[in-house]
Every structure is written in structure tokens, then in C-alpha cells.
Symmetry: C2
Subunit: 790 residues, 2 copies
């Protein structure tokens, strides 16, 4: 049973708690409480093993392909968390005996996982257990664990096996060679793994520091080695009230680490260095290391984003902290060769691949709140031009055709080809996204545009941004198909954001965004011509721009952009959608898990009905208003009212966009309820939906629904607009965003908006149609008259 | 808790039972109750999963190498046994709720695994479960399972997931590509796996037939697919006294099957054929298929070997039946390209490799009892000449140097290089056997000699046997090292049968057996010269025999053969052994598991002491008497008394040889106690010693201790000798052996020996020094006067 806040005082609204152990729903807390620092993610699997557990340690960027038949994925690195504990010779498990006072908690503030309980063994001996764990934000290679056990009633014999286990796979696929195992000085355990295809070395080191009643235990453990596994066995007798304390410190290094990925790399150096670092950490001990880690979270996260929500329901504050926690844990901010995985670093789902999820749902948070990280993420896509050009060439197009799923930047397309069972034929369903879900290229161009507008980072544009926009525009121009009859350019046989419509023609989102991408390229070309002709010349040579520019200019206006229907202002999602038959989705939308539709229909059948998986026309309207504000509120409303009831929200990307749109349309209650639903995708009571990992985009969406929705922050026609509309039971919200290089503190109550440019530099912004300008704190009165109603 | 006989009547001494479920000792019954038919071995893991289970399905000959760094091994094929059962939504496990009347039983006679119990769920609902399972001896591709569930008290909702799961690995190494998965007609489930290096396709098919109260359930199950996994979910409500019956039939086929391993092979054919066969079996149903299987065991096993022991302790009868059961289950009699694995087909231990275990401990059973199978096993070694020649060449020798561990015949040496942890250095110990444990080549030559003597199979010799003996002799001649000082040939830097002595010079066993091998080659050469000069000429051309023969003749007498010491008649195990320091082994020999020595000493230290792992000089004396009877009983006794106390019996190969020797030396009580200990290696109460699989050689040794020991059957100077000496509480024993192509029934009591040549052909044999001849039943009185005492 999950609950979400703990006690009072410092910890209030900082703690995610599970207060009842269930062996059938382990995945929930394993995922949503996972620990990460962008370098690695450690699933919060319990120390003692259970049958249905998933034990994952994922290190950003260490992609490997099991075989030519599979796609590359983040391999599951060896485990250092498992402890096989025996009490009086019987294995310890919460399924056996009696458990009292159970708590498993993630403290978001300190990014520490804590688990405590009293356990009475089947033979009646009572013990108190206390587990702690962190993945350091201060030293990205370090994992700290601390275990305290107290015997409450009897003499007990307690023993445990602990070490490094590399027998794990990714659901059966083994990515590693069995490497060398070694125990140094009967204490320091080292295991090497090397990926079988990408040849990345991973070195794990671990060690134990053991005390009973505060006194170091000197006895040497029994050493053990098996295939892909090395561990020690410790054995103690505890008398009543004896305290056993075990600190287990581990380090993880790989040859993909920036400091090792160099021509002079040797495995030997990596082994020595990583072991030495462990020894250095050992000198400090768990508590000191934990303090450094906690300090890093304060300095790098909580002080920077400074996000407060004062709601009648403390869940809202918690869910925003939960979002900030995970946005930090999931992001490989240390290395621009790496992107954000769709399930973060919390599980094997989606194989560690990056989707448009990053650019549309996560990147905006960093663009507005931490532009340095946003830049690193966009540079990942810049490096990804290599893979995108590869894909374009292979597909018979020009320029940069970004892969629907991306792994290592040079990999190109890595979407798997086969998916779930087809309930009619019994065959596996083919996944078409890697072939025909093509809007990702313009999504990335949009992200560049947004980043530039918000940050004004000219250096980024000169070095990376223009090239990305030009080369995606080149792709789109080559992608257009001339329709002789209608005398216009079509984009046929695609999947739009709504993945329940495969092989459609002229998906509105795809066409409009391609149009935007090309138009942006023309605009930048013209801009460079006057502002930086030297750079334009370089890019012209590199990308054959002269020819491209001519095509952009000549074809742009001939691209077919589906217009709202005269009778009801509905924009056709694609050429055929509005002609399909309809289905009442009520029961599927009310189901407590997503995708229930597919227990009754197969994808081919769903393809033939007016059923939308997620925001499609909606997200188009939301994005376009940040560029040209093409559509009126009436059209937005008409489309919201038409499409929302036909949308299952089976994608976690759907709810936050709808929340923002609902807010814009003055549907405050609906907006708040959609925000809550978005928050509950991972943090809610559904116990199995996060099994394969958290929903990274949905977590970015929590922040977006709050900042773009309730606070009404928006980039429209290049201006910062702030049109707040707090949910009625929110007293205030406070946060810091960056605008043109300056952090700006924003506080919103129902009565007023307070803006503080923290670097005392002038900012220009608009609130409900009024323009403002200031270089110091400014308060703007908000009144009911300024509320937009519809 | 294990016990070993059930009730009275037909089942008496036929059933191995476990009457108390323990989640910590699952490996015991998984291994010793495993089901096999030589084609495949299915570990008897329970249907419902447990944390410490090992779920294995191994198919003979399907070797694959995970990577260049690993050695080839039998891959763990996808599982079809697991059922995830839920009762009222909670997962079913014997660790939870209450279990009564628990029995897990292997019926040796019918080769059926049975498990029954009543289970009360944590919420108080009582159910009766009955599981049955067999691996057909009639159709080697077929696995049958049957599950009965009865609700005893309440309405219960029962559901289960069942299908094919290919996520399994060999302790982390994945040998298979993920192949196609398919469900046909919502019923027939098919999964394809292909090995990643050896390119063997495996196709598994499975289906369910479900009845409630005898009436077919028509509801379609929910179909599911995941990575490497396909399954269906069934869901029922049972009212009190409702009977649920599930038959699950499965077929396993591979492209290595003889009938498919042909140029016209296609995966498509294999898939179609295997699915059709499943459908054919489905028409018959579990009961009819089981009857055919049971009939095959009667006809092919129990009627043929006709083994009876009448002992005061019924365990003795059971353990011989257990041996015959496993000797049948482990042996790929259907395919001469395949050998017997050291852990049979019962687990991943020793990777499915064949050792000298086959030739010295298992083959004699077949040579005497089922020569057709013996011939197939020897032909496996004949095909293995390819690998043996490869190894000789790679090692700088001539002829055929058999690999210490063998897999596919052409593979050559496949012994892994790294073993357990060195408790002093913390490094992995290097395994030297693959490099320097070389006696395997003469062990195989000895097996050829024995097979020929016992069966008189001239055709085998002409086609295969001579070539094997000549080419191993060529190896040995090239292996000899000239000692200038002593003017003799040495064999230095080897490991003998005692693997606790690495890098020794002139191991007595190795030198004597090499000498035997060369001498045998000379003898056969001379024999062929007169009897079959045409064949000799062919072999001469093939093996450059003229040159070889000259070397054999000139060097044979110069090979150093360690002689018994004058002072105590002890034959030095090697050049240094008798000079090493001694250690009292009492506590290690009494330990309830093997290898306890290594928790206190590392191998380097054990190397430096008079500690022997297993019969070494002992087995030499035992083998030699079957050739030339070189050593007197006095010398045998002196060596037994010297070496046995220094022998830890850490190898399961040790006890049966010592049992035979003890019997020869008139140490009847000791012989019986060693026989019992050998039987108890797998069948005894130690719960963890069989975790990685049963001990195939030890199981062959049970039969050897009975037939070569108590019945005193021996091939000496080419004659069949029978010198019986029953343990004092055995009333009689009866068995059938083959001699020169004729089955001979032998019955022994304390008073008389009864011999029946079943084909009425004349046999010549010797009993306690007296020669006999008969072509019909003959009885020979045995008296105390004929007992040899010492």
C-alpha cells in the first residue's frame, strides 16, 4: 500500500512511502523509488531476493546489441544490492514469519532509500532491520548501502552472502562476456564485464565494513566464486540487543566514461583506478559520503529549481518534487553523447532508448530551468546527426532523418521490429514506428527553436543548432510526395503521435510540423545571410544548402496542411480518420490499466476506428501556438471536445498535454484532474503500471502541466508570456526559470504574480495581454477579471 | 526429507520419495528425480516457481559456445514446465499457507514424476493438487504433464499462466537467439530458438487440454507474448468438489536430430513436423501416451537388465534400480554422435561434457548389459578422433590425443580454464586438466579392449576399434620424454586421476596405461598382420603405421613403470608423492560434503601433501588385472591400506572402485559400506550435493560395485570370471549380462550360483579357479571353503 507523505517537520511532503510489503507488486517501488544520478540508475529492489523482483543496474550510454537480430539496449550491469540473509540457517524473507512496522521510503530531498521493519522468524526470533541506500550525486560512480540488524529477543545466528553477481540478463539476453573476478586482501571484491558487441568494459568493486555494537569485526569472511559471480559469506552470533552494522560501498566505472574513452585506455588502468577510488571512499565511510551526496542534491537541485506548491492536498507538492527528483536522476547531464531513456534509468522497458519524449516532454523543463543540461541533451541530438543521416540514406532520403528510437548517437534507427501478440492471429505484431513514425525530426527542430528562443544561446546555434534545423529540413523536402491531382505535396504512409493509426496519409501533426521545420530553415537561412554569412557559407558547403534553399522556397507553400472542417472546426487527424467508425471508449478509459482495448481488438481493428492513443491534433495545436499561434481558441476548443473523448490516453505522454490545453481553454477543474492523473501514472496507487520502469515523459509532463498549465508560462511569438490560473485549492506556487540566461523567480498566488530577475538584468514579459519590463522584483495584481473563461 | 520406498505390492522398492517440501533444498529432488530418455533431460523442478530453483531442459548434442572466451556447453532450452498458479488472485506457493500430505515421487518403474498435496491458502481455502509428468521413452520428443486440482471447501478462482519461456540461461550465458513465437488457432504454442554459434534450431510446441469435472473447457485463453516468452492465461471458478484437469503436452525437436541434420533441412519443415507430431499426440491424450512410455521402460529396460537384489535393507534394491533408471535416462543411445554427460542430463554442471567417467564407470555397464548402446558410445569416441587429432596437433604431438572434456566430436578440447576461488590469493584457480590430464586417451583404448573382449564384436574392431587403439598409441609414443640419466622414457608434467596433484612426473596410472595402450597396439598390429592383412594395409596408409609400429616396438620396454617399493610394496603414485608431508584427513572425510579441505587449504598447498582426491593407484590395480594381472593380492592390499586413508573421496568416481577392491581383498564389510556410500552420493540424505546434477559415473559405479564387486564378474586374461561374495545381509542377487553376443542370466545366493545362457549357446567361464562350460542352465555350489580370505 502506497502513501505519499511522512509526518511533519523537515520531511513533510518529501517522502514517498510504501507501508505494506507485497511480493506480487514489487515492481512498483522498485521503479518509482529507484536511485539515480544520470550516470547510472539502480532499481530499488530489496536486498533479500524475491521471485518476481527485477534487479537492474543501468549505466547511461553503455549500449550493446546481443545479436544482429536484436536492437541495441542498455545492458543490465552486475548486481551489488542482493544480500542472501540467513537467520539460524533459514533464509530470510518477508513472505515468511511476521512483519511489523514495515516501511520502504524514498526521501526525495536526500535521495536516500530507507527500509525498516521488525521481523519475527517462523521459529519466533524477533529482529529489527534497517536498510539505507544511495547512489551518489556527489561522486557519480559510488553506491552506498548500510544495513543495521538488531536482535530483539534471542541469541540468533545471522549470516549473509554479499558480493557481485553478473548472472543477470536483460530478460534473457546476456550482453556481457564473463570477465575476471578477484578478491583482493580477502576484502575488496572486483568483477569485470565486457559487452559482447560494443566492447565496453565495466568494472565493479565492492567491499564491506562490519561492526557489532560499534566494534569492527575482524574475522575474515569465506570467499566464493562461481560463474559470473563472486561473493563473501559472513557469519555472526547476535545476542539480544546486539547491533550488527554493515556498510557496503561499491563503485562502478566503464570504458565509456569520458575520462577513460581515450586512445590510451587500458582495462588495467580502469581496474586500478576504480579500486583505488573505492578505497578512498572507504576511508570516509557511509555517513560522510552520504552527507556529500545530500549536499549535492541541495546545491544542484533543490536550491536551483526552488519549486514550492502550497496546495490543500500535499500530494501536489510531493508530485512536483517527485518530478524534479526523477528529472535529475534520469538525466546524463555529465555526457553530451548520451540521451534520456523513455523509462529513465529505472528499468529495462524501451531498452534505454530516447524518443521524442525527451524533446517534447522533458527538454522544456531543462530549457527553462537548467539550460546547461538542455544544451547537453540537444548536443546528444547533434551527435545523433550521424545516425540520422545514416537512416535518411538507407531510406532513400536526403539530410537528417532522426531515428524514432535512438541509442548511441551513431547507431541510427534502433526501434525493435516485433511487439506484442496479435490476439486474432496469434502472431507477433510488427512495430512500424521505426519505419514510418517520422515526426521526430521536426520535433527535434522544434526543440532547437524553443531552446534558442528561451535561452538566446547564439553559440549553440552557430555550432550545432542551425545545422540540425537545415539538415532536418533537407530530409523533409526529400520526403514530400507530389500529388498530381491535387497539385500539392503530401506526406503519405506515416504514423503520427497517435500510434493507433498506422500507414495514414497526411497526418496533420506530421504535415504541419514538417512545414514548420522547413519554414524555420528558410528563416534561419535568411537570418544567417545577413547576420553571419561566413557561417552560412560553411554550412552551405557542408549541406549543399543552395540547392536545398531553392527547394524549400519553391515547395513550402505547396505542402498540404489539413484545415479545420467548415462545419465543426475539427482538423482531420489524417486523410481517413474522420470517415472511420466510432466506438464508445468509456469502459477502457475507466480501466485501471492502459491498453485494455487490446484484449478485445487487435491493432488492425483499432486502426479502423476513430480511436486515438494520445494527444495528436491536441499536441499540434499546443506546439503551433509557440511558433505562429495559427489557430483560434474556438478551433482549439472544437478539437479538444471532438478528440478528447476518442482518446484512450494509453500513452503516458497524453495527459499533461491535455492538462495544459484544458487550462488554456479555461477548463480549470478538468485541467487539475488531468494534472493529477498525469502525476498518478507513476505515483498513483496502480501497482503494476511502472513495472518496466517509470514514465520519464509523463514525469516531465507533471512539471509542464504546472508551469505551462497553471502558471501559464509560454513562449509565444518569441515572447515570455505568463498567464497564471492556479487550481482553486492551490494557495500559491513558486519556482525559478531561466530566460535569456537569467534565472527568474516566479511566485503566483490567486491575487498576485511576483517576478524577481535574480541577476538584476532587464526582462520583458507579458501577462494577460499587458507588456511589462523590469530588472528587479515586480508584483502584478491578478484578478478575476483577468481570468479567461470560455 | 527423503525416503526411499513406498508401501507394498507393485510399487515396493520402485519409488524415490520426498515427503517434506523445503524451499532451501530444491536442487536435490530436481536432480535425482529428473526425467530423461537420452534425447533430452528435464530437471524435476516444481511447476510453481521458487527462488532457488534451477529449471533445466537439456537436449543431447546441442552444444553451443556463448563466446570465444567460454567453452561449448549444452544450452538450457526453453522451459515448458512452469505454471504460475493464482488462487483467488494470490500466487500459489508451498512457502505460504499450509501444506499437508506432501509427496514428491519418482516412480522408477514407470519413469513418472508425481507430486501430491493438500494446500490451504493463507485465506483458508483448501485445495488438493496432483501433478504428473513424464519424458517419453516411446517418443523421444514428447513431454507429458497432467495437473489435477480439486477445491475441497470453497468456491475458488483459480488461474494459471502456462506456455514456453526462453528467458532462461546457463548461469547467465544465453545460448540462443530470440526466435519466432506463434500461437496457432489460439491453442498450439510454438517457440523457435537458434543457438548463436553452432546454429542449431530448437523448436518447442506445447498445448493444453482442459477439463472441469470431465467436460472440456471451451473458453479461449488470454494469449500473451513477451521477449523470449509466449504463454496463455486460463481462469476458472471451481466450486467445492469440482475437479480441474489440465493436460499439457509438449514436443521438442532440433535441427541436430538425425532425421533433420541433412542437406535438405529447412526450419520451416522442422516447425511443421514438430507441430504435427504434437497434434498427433494430442489425439491420444496423456493416459495413452503414458501407457506407451511405461511399456517402453518395461521392454527396453526392466525386462532386459532383469536386476534383482534381495537384501535385508530394501535400499540396496532401490539404489540398483535407481542406477538402471539413470543409466537409461542419461544415455543418448539414439545417436552415436553424442556422449554421456558427467552430470547426465540433470543439470548444468560440467556443461554436458563427457570425461573418462564414461569409459571407466558407465560404459562397462553397457558393454556387459547392452552392447549395442556400448557400441554407440564407443563410436562417439571414434567420431571424436577428429577432435583428438586436432588436440594432438595443437599440442605438438602425433596421433589422437583425446580431450579431457569432450562435447561435439569434432570440437577437441573443451575443458574450461578457470575454476573456483583460491582462498589464499583471492584469484580464480586455473584448471590444468584440459592441458595435462592426459590418461583419457589410454582409458578409451582400454574401453575398446574391454568391449571387444566381452562382446567379440569383430565388425566394430575392424571399422573403428583398431584405428582408435593405433592412433592413441601413436599419441603416447610421441608424448614420451627421454631421460638421458636414467636411460628410460618418462611422462612428465601431468595430472593423474588424483587431481590434487598437478604437474607431477611419472604418475603411475598414466605411465602404466600408456604402456598398456602401446602394447595393445602392437598386439593388434601383429594380429591383423596374420588375420586381416588387407585391413592392416588400409590402416597403415591412413595412420603411417609402419613407422609407428617400429617406434612402439623399440620404445615399449624403455617406458618407466613405477614398481612397488621394496620395504612396503607401495607403488609411488608419482615421482614426488611419497616424499610429501602427511595430513590427518579424518575430519574432512567425515564432513557431510566434499571438498571441505579447500576451506582451509588452497590447491597449491594440497599439492604439497600426501592427499589423494580419488582412486589413483587403486584404479590402476583394478584395471590392470583385467589385462595382465600384473600385481599380486599382497601388493593390492599394501596399496589399499596405504592410499585409502590418504584419499578424501572428493570425486564421486572414487568409492565404487574402492568398493570393488575392498571386496577383492576380502574386506566384505568395508566393501558393502563403500557400496552404500557410493549409492548415497545422490540417493543419500545430503541435500545439496546433487544441486548441479547427478553424478553419472557414481551411478555407473553402483552397478559396478554390485556386479564387479559382490558378484565378482571380471574380465581377466580375456576370460569371464565369476567370484561372487555377497554382503552378509543380501539373500540373493540376479541380473543378466551379455557375453560374446549372448545374454546370460546369473543368480547368486550364498549357497549357489545359477547360470543360464539364454540363447542356449555354449559359454566358458571360471568360478573361484575352476573352469566351467555349458549351453544351458547350470548351478554351482558356493561354500565357505571357496571364500577368499586374507
Amino acid at each position: 500500500m502506497m502513501n505519499y507523505s511522512l509526518g511533519k517537520g523537515d520531511l513533510e511532503n518529501w517522502v514517498v512511502s510504501d507501508t505494506a510489503f507485497s511480493p506480487d507488486t514489487l515492481g512498483k517501488t522498485e521503479s518509482i523509488m529507484y536511485l539515480g544520478n544520470g550516470y547510472m540508475g539502480l532499481r530499488s529492489t530489496t536486498e533479500e531476493p524475491y521471485l518476481n523482483e527485477t534487479r537492474n543496474l543501468l549505466v547511461s550510454g553503455t549500449f550493446n546489441k546481443f545479436s544482429e537480430e536484436e536492437v541495441t539496449e542498455l545492458p543490465n550491469v552486475a548486481d551489488i544490492t542482493r544480500l542472501d540473509i540467513r537467520v539460524d540457517g533459514e533464509h530470510f524473507s518477508l513472505e515468511l514469519g511476521k512483519v511489523e512496522q514495515y516501511k520502504k521510503q524514498l526521501n526525495l530531498q536526500t535521495a536516500e532509500l530507507i527500509r525498516t521493519f521488525d521481523w519475527t522468524s517462523p521459529s519466533g526470533k524477533k529482529l529489527r532491520f534497517h536498510f539505507r541506500r544511495f547512489v551518489s550525486l556527489d561522486d557519480m560512480h559510488l553506491i552506498g548501502m548500510k544495513i543495521n540488524v538488531e536482535s530483539l529477543t534471542d541469541d540468533v545466528q545471522i549470516s549473509f552472502d554479499s558480493g557481485i553477481n553478473a548472472q543477470l540478463t536483460n530478460t534473457g539476453s546476456q550482453h556481457f562476456h564473463e570477465g575476471e573476478k578477484r578478491i583482493f586482501n580477502k576484502r575488496y571484491i572486483q568483477l569485470v564485464q565486457s559487452t559482447i558487441e560494443s566492447n565496453i568494459d565495466v568494472v565493479l568493486n565492492t567491499m564491506h565494513q562490519i561492526k557489532i555494537n560499534g566494534i569492527d569485526v575482524k574475522e575474515e569472511p569465506v570467499m566464493n566464486m562461481e560463474r559470473r559471480k563472486v561473493w563473501v559469506t559472513h557469519d555472526f552470533t547476535l545476542r539480544p540487543n546486539d547491533h550488527l552494522e554493515v556498510e557496503k560501498l561499491s563503485t562502478v566505472y566503464t570504458s565509456r566514461d569520458k575520462e577513460f574513452d581515450k586512445p590510451d585506455y587500458t582495462l588495467d588502468n580502469l581496474r586500478k583506478h576504480s579500486l583505488n577510488e573505492l578505497k578512498r571512499s572507504f576511508e570516509k565511510g557511509y555517513e560522510a559520503l552520504f552527507q556529500s551526496h545530500k549536499g549535492a542534491w541541495k546545491k544542484k537541485v533543490w536550491d536551483v529549481y526552488d519549486f514550492e506548491v502550497n496546495s490543500e492536498d500535499p500530494f501536489d507538492q510531493l508530485s512536483l518534487r517527485f518530478a524534479l527528483y526523477h528529472l535529475t536522476a534520469m538525466t546524463p547531464a555529465h555526457d553530451e553523447r548520451m540521451g534520456i531513456a523513455a523509462k529513465a534509468l529505472s528499468g529495462e522497458g524501451y531498452k534505454g532508448h530516447s524518443f521524442w519524449d525527451t524533446e517534447l516532454f522533458i527538454l522544456p523543463f531543462f530549457t527553462y530551468s537548467n539550460p546547461k543540461v538542455a544544451k547537453s541533451l540537444l548536443k546528444y541530438r547533434y551527435h545523433g546527426l550521424a545516425g540520422a543521416r545514416k537512416k535518411a540514406t538507407a531510406s532513400g532520403y536526403e539530410g537528417a532523418m532522426y531515428p524514432w528510437e535512438a541509442a548511441w548517437p551513431t547507431d541510427g534507427e534502433v526501434t525493435p521490429v516485433w511487439g506484442a501478440v496479435d490476439i486474432i492471429t496469434g502472431e507477433q505484431t510488427k512495430i512500424w514506428s521505426g519505419f514510418i513514425e517520422q515526426h521526430i525530426s521536426s520535433d527535434i527542430a522544434f526543440a532547437v527553436y524553443q531552446y534558442y528562443k528561451v535561452t538566446g544561446d547564439q553559440d549553440f546555434m552557430d555550432k550545432y543548432g542551425y545545422e540540425m534545423v537545415f539538415d532536418t529540413a533537407r530530409f523533409w523536402i526529400s520526403r514530400l510526395e507530389w500529388d498530381e491531382e491535387k497539385q500539392e505535396y503530401h506526406i503519405n504512409d506515416v504514423i503520427g503521435p497517435d500510434e493507433y493509426k498506422e500507414h495514414v496519409n497526411n497526418n496533420a501533426f506530421t504535415n504541419y510540423m514538417a512545414h514548420f521545420n522547413i519554414k524555420l530553415a528558410i528563416f534561419y537561412y535568411d537570418k544567417l545571410k545577413t547576420e553571419n554569412p561566413k557561417l552560412l557559407e560553411e554550412l552551405r558547403d557542408l549541406l549543399d544548402l543552395e540547392k536545398a534553399y531553392k527547394k524549400w522556397k519553391s515547395k513550402l507553400t505547396q505542402i498540404y496542411l489539413p484545415k479545420p472542417r467548415e462545419e465543426d472546426s475539427v482538423i482531420p487527424q489524417d486523410d481517413s480518420y474522420l470517415q472511420l467508425k466510432k466506438l464508445d471508449l468509456t469502459k477502457y478509459k475507466q480501466a485501471d490499466k492502459v491498453g485494455t482495448l487490446f484484449s478485445e481488438y487487435n491493432l488492425e481493428q483499432v486502426n479502423q476506428m476513430q480511436i486515438t492513443k494520445q494527444a495528436d491534433v491536441m499536441i499540434l495545436l499546443y506546439l503551433l501556438e509557440q511558433t505562429e499561434n495559427v489557430f483560434s481558441k474556438e478551433i482549439k476548443k472544437a478539437n479538444f471536445d471532438y478528440y478528447e473523448p476518442k482518446t484512450t490516453h494509453d500513452s503516458s505522454l497524453s495527459l499533461s498535454t491535455h492538462a495544459i490545453m484544458a487550462n488554456d481553454l479555461g477548463k480549470s477543474e478538468l485541467a487539475y484532474s488531468l494534472f493529477r492523473k498525469a502525476s498518478e501514472i507513476d505515483l498513483g496507487p496502480t501497482m503494476n503500471s511502472s513495472d518496466e520502469g517509470i514514465h520519464a515523459a509523463s514525469i516531465g509532463g507533471i512539471w509542464q502541466a504546472a508551469v505551462f498549465g497553471f502558471a501559464g508560462i509560454r513562449l509565444i511569438e518569441g515572447k515570455l508570456k505568463i498567464n497564471p490560473s492556479l487550481p482553486k485549492h492551490w494557495k500559491n506556487m513558486k519556482f525559478t526559470i531561466n530566460w535569456k540566461g537569467q534565472p527568474i523567480s516566479i511566485t503566483i498566488t490567486n491575487a498576485k504574480l511576483t517576478i524577481i530577475p535574480l541577476h538584476d538584468k532587464k526582462i520583458i514579459f507579458e501577462v494577460f495581454g499587458e507588456d511589462y519590463e523590469t530588472n528587479k522584483q515586480m508584483e502584478i495584481k491578478l484578478g478575476s477579471s483577468q481570468t479567461i473563461t470560455f
